[in-house]
Amino acid sequence: MTTTAVEHATLSTAQAINRALHDAMAEDPTVLVLGEDVGPLGGVFRVTDGLTAEFGEDRCFDTPLAEAGIAGFAVGLAMNGMRPVIEMQFDAFAYPAFEQVVSHIAKMRNRTRGRVALPLVVRIPYAGGIGGVEHHCDSSESYYAHTPGLHVVAPSNPADAYTLLREAIASPDPVIFLEPKKLYWAKGEVVLGRGGEPGIGTAVVRRQGTDATLIAYGPTVPVAIEAAEVAARDGRSLQVVDLRSIVPFDDAGVCAAVESTGRAVVVAEAAGFASVSSEIAARVSERCFHSLSAPVRRVTGFDIPYPPPKLEHFQLPSVDRILDAVDELQWEEA
C-alpha cells in the first residue's frame, strides 16, 4: 500500500481542463493539443492558455481552419503513436468533421480487429446558456452517443472535468469530451493527478433524496441540484444523479437510484426527440418498470433550432420546469 500526497486546487472548469491538458502533456510526450486558435491565443475560451509557451509549437499548435481536416489529421497522428487532443471551437462547428468522426474515429478499431487503436480526444465546448448566437450553443451529444465506437463524456463541475479528461486522454479509445460552456467559469475544488475516482462509466448521486430521481449530465446538473434544493423547501426530497459519462452508460447506478425513489425525471438541454434523454427515459422505463409509480418524465430542450440569445431562456430546462415535471409524477396516487 502506497500513500500518495493528494494535491488539491480551487479552479474554474476552464482552468481544470487547462490543468488536465497540462499535466497529461507533462507526463506523456505523445500528447498533442491542436485545433483552431489553441496555440498562441490559448483558445477562444482560454482553455489551452500557456500550453504552447510551455510545451512548444510541436506539442500545442494551430491548424488550418478545417474541422474535417483536424479530425482526419488526428486520426493519422493517433495511428502513428501520438495521443492527439483536438478542439472543435464550438459544438456546431464540429459538424463538418462528422464523417471523420463517424466513419473513422468511431470505427477504426473495429475495422482493424483491434489492431489500430485511436487514443484521441475530441474536446467540444458545447450547449447554451451563454447568450451565444446561432451555431454556438448546440447540444450535439446525441449524434455522438448514437454512434457505436465512441465514448461520450460530459462533466458537470471542475473536479470531474479534470479527472474525466485525464482518463479520456489516457484511454485507448476515442472520447468525445463535451465541455458545458456555461460552466467554464464555475469554480470548484479539484483533486489533481491520475487515479481520481470514480472514472468514465460511473454515474454519481450528487444529492440524496427519497421522493424522485432527477437524472442529468453536463450543464443541467447544477440546475437539477438547484431544483432539488427548491423542492426540499417545499418538503419534497429529490435525488440528483449525474451521469458523467453518457457512453458507457451506468445502468446499474441509474437503476439503483431510480428504484430507490420510484419516480424519475430526465433533464437535458438538447432537443428531446431521438436523443440521449429519450434513451435514458426508455432504459429506465424498461428496466425499472415495476418500481415506477409514475411514467418517466423528460425536461429537455424543445424540438427547435437553438434560439437566439433573447429567447434562449425558454429553451433551457429551468428549475420551474423541472419542478412542474416533478409535480406531474402522480403524487396523488402515492
Binding site: G69, P96, F314
Partner: protein, 373 residues
C-alpha cells in the same frame, strides 16, 4: 492546355491602381474607374467606416452581443456591393455587415443576428442578400446553386460570394469552386484575405503563392488585388462580374487587406500580433487614399466631404435608434418558423411555454395585487 492555365493564374503582384498615398500607379495608365463611381465608392466607405464604429460602440453599450468589425476592410465591403446590379445576389459572411448595408439592407436589420433577437434580421429576397453566414465557407455552395438556378431559367444574374482567408481552408470552399467551374455557374468568389482567422495568421492557413492561385486547380481564373484600393477592387471585381455575366463561368478574386481591429470585441489581438504590423497597415487605409486621389482630381472638396460625413451620420443615427429600441421577442416565434406547419410535437411544446408564461403572469398579477392591497 497550358495556355489555358496561364490565363487562369493571377498577375505577379496584386493589382493596385492607387497607391497608399492616393497616387495612380503605372497600372492605372490603362484607365481608372469613372470618377462618379469612385465618389460613390468613397461615400459607401464613409458609411461603412461610420457603421463599423457605431456598431462597436453599441457593443460597449450592451446593445449588441458581439460585433465582428470590418474596420479597415471597407474598400472590399463596398466594392462587393457596388459591382452588382439589383438582380444579382450577394452572399456575405458573418463579418460582412457593411457590405450588406452597402447593398441597401437596413442597418438595423443587418445587425439582427448580433443583437440577439433572431438569427437573421432581414428578408434575403428584398435586396438579394443571403443571410450572414457564420459556419465558414458553408454559404459558398449555396451561392453556386442560386447562380445555377438563375442560369437554368436564362436569367442574367451574377452571384458574388464572399469568404475570408480562413474560410478557404474549409472543404466547402473547394466543393463550391469545383461545382461552379464544372457547371460554369456565374459566381464571383471574393476572398477577403485580411491576414488572420481569429488568431491564426495566413502562413498557418495556406502555403500557396497566393490564394488567387487556387483558381487554376478548378479551371477558374484567379486574380489578386490590393484590398485597400477601391479603384483596383472595382476594376477587377466588375471585370469578373462582367465575364461571369457574359457566360465565361466563375471567377476568383483575392483582396489583400487587413483586419485592423480584434476579431470581435471578445478577442484580444495583442496575444498574437504586434503593434507595428497593425501600424504598417494603418498607413494603407482605404479611405485615406481614395479621398486623397479624389481631392487631387478635384472631384472632392470640403463641402462634398461634409455631405458624405453627414450621410454616414444618418446611417449611424438610424442604427443607434433602431438598436436602442427594446423589442420584446415573441416566444411563439420559437415554434413558428421551424416548419411550414408545426408538427403535433411543436404544438404541444408551444402549449407548455404558453402555460408557463400565463402562470407566471398570473402569479405576478397576484403578487402586484397583494402589494397594492
Amino acid at each position: 492546355m497550358t495556355s489555358d492555365a496561364d490565363r487562369m493564374l493571377p498577375s505577379r503582384e496584386p493589382v493596385m491602381l492607387l497607391d497608399p498615398d492616393g497616387r495612380p500607379t503605372v497600372a492605372a495608365r490603362a484607365g481608372l474607374p469613372a470618377s462618379e463611381e469612385l465618389l460613390r465608392g468613397l461615400a459607401g466607405m464613409v458609411v461603412a467606416r461610420r457603421f463599423n464604429e457605431q456598431a462597436s460602440a453599441l457593443v460597449r453599450q450592451g446593445r449588441l452581443a458581439v460585433y465582428p468589425s470590418s474596420y479597415g476592410q471597407e474598400a472590399c465591403q463596398v466594392a462587393a456591393a457596388q459591382v452588382l446590379t439589383g438582380e444579382d445576389w450577394l452572399f456575405p459572411t458573418y463579418r460582412d455587415t457593411a457590405a450588406a448595408v452597402a447593398r441597401g439592407v437596413d442597418p438595423v436589420e443587418v445587425l439582427g443576428l448580433l443583437k440577439g433577437d433572431w438569427h437573421s434580421g432581414y428578408d434575403p429576397y428584398e435586396r438579394h442578400v443571403a443571410p450572414l453566414t457564420t459556419p465558414l465557407a458553408t454559404q459558398l455552395p449555396h451561392a453556386v446553386g442560386v447562380a445555377h438556378a438563375a442560369r437554368l431559367r436564362g436569367e442574367r444574374t451574377v452571384v458574388l460570394a464572399m469568404c475570408g482567408d480562413g474560410g478557404t481552408s474549409e472543404g466547402d470552399f473547394h466543393e463550391a469552386l469545383n461545382f461552379a467551374a464544372v457547371f460554369r455557374a456565374p459566381v464571383v468568389f471574393f476572398v477577403q484575405n485580411n491576414q488572420y482567422a481569429i488568431s491564426v495568421p495566413l502562413a498557418r492557413q495556406s502555403a500557396a503563392p497566393s490564394l488567387a492561385h487556387k483558381g487554376v486547380g478548378y479551371g477558374i481564373p484567379g486574380e489578386h488585388v490590393d484590398g485597400n484600393d477601391l479603384a483596383a477592387l472595382l476594376d477587377v471585381l466588375s471585370g469578373a462580374v462582367g465575364r461571369a455575366r457574359a457566360g465565361e463561368g466563375p471567377q476568383l478574386v483575392e483582396g489583400r487587406t487587413y483586419r485592423m481591429q480584434a476579431h470581435t470585441n471578445a478577442d484580444d489581438a495583442t496575444r498574437y500580433r504586434a503593434d507595428d504590423e497593425v501600424a504598417a497597415w494603418a498607413a494603407k487605409d482605404p479611405l485615406v487614399r481614395l479621398e486623397a486621389y479624389l481631392r487631387t482630381e478635384g472631384v472632392l472638396d470640403d463641402a462634398r466631404a461634409a455631405d458624405l460625413t453627414e450621410a454616414a451620420e444618418q446611417v449611424a443615427r438610424r442604427t443607434r435608434d433602431g438598436l436602442n429600441q427594446d423589442v420584446e421577442p415573441d416566444p411563439d416565434d420559437l415554434f413558428r418558423f421551424v416548419y411550414s406547419q408545426p408538427t403535433p410535437q411543436l404544438v404541444e411544446q408551444l402549449a407548455v411555454v404558453r402555460d408557463e408564461i400565463s402562470r407566471d403572469e398570473q402569479s405576478r398579477d397576484e403578487q402586484s395585487r397583494e402589494e397594492t392591497r
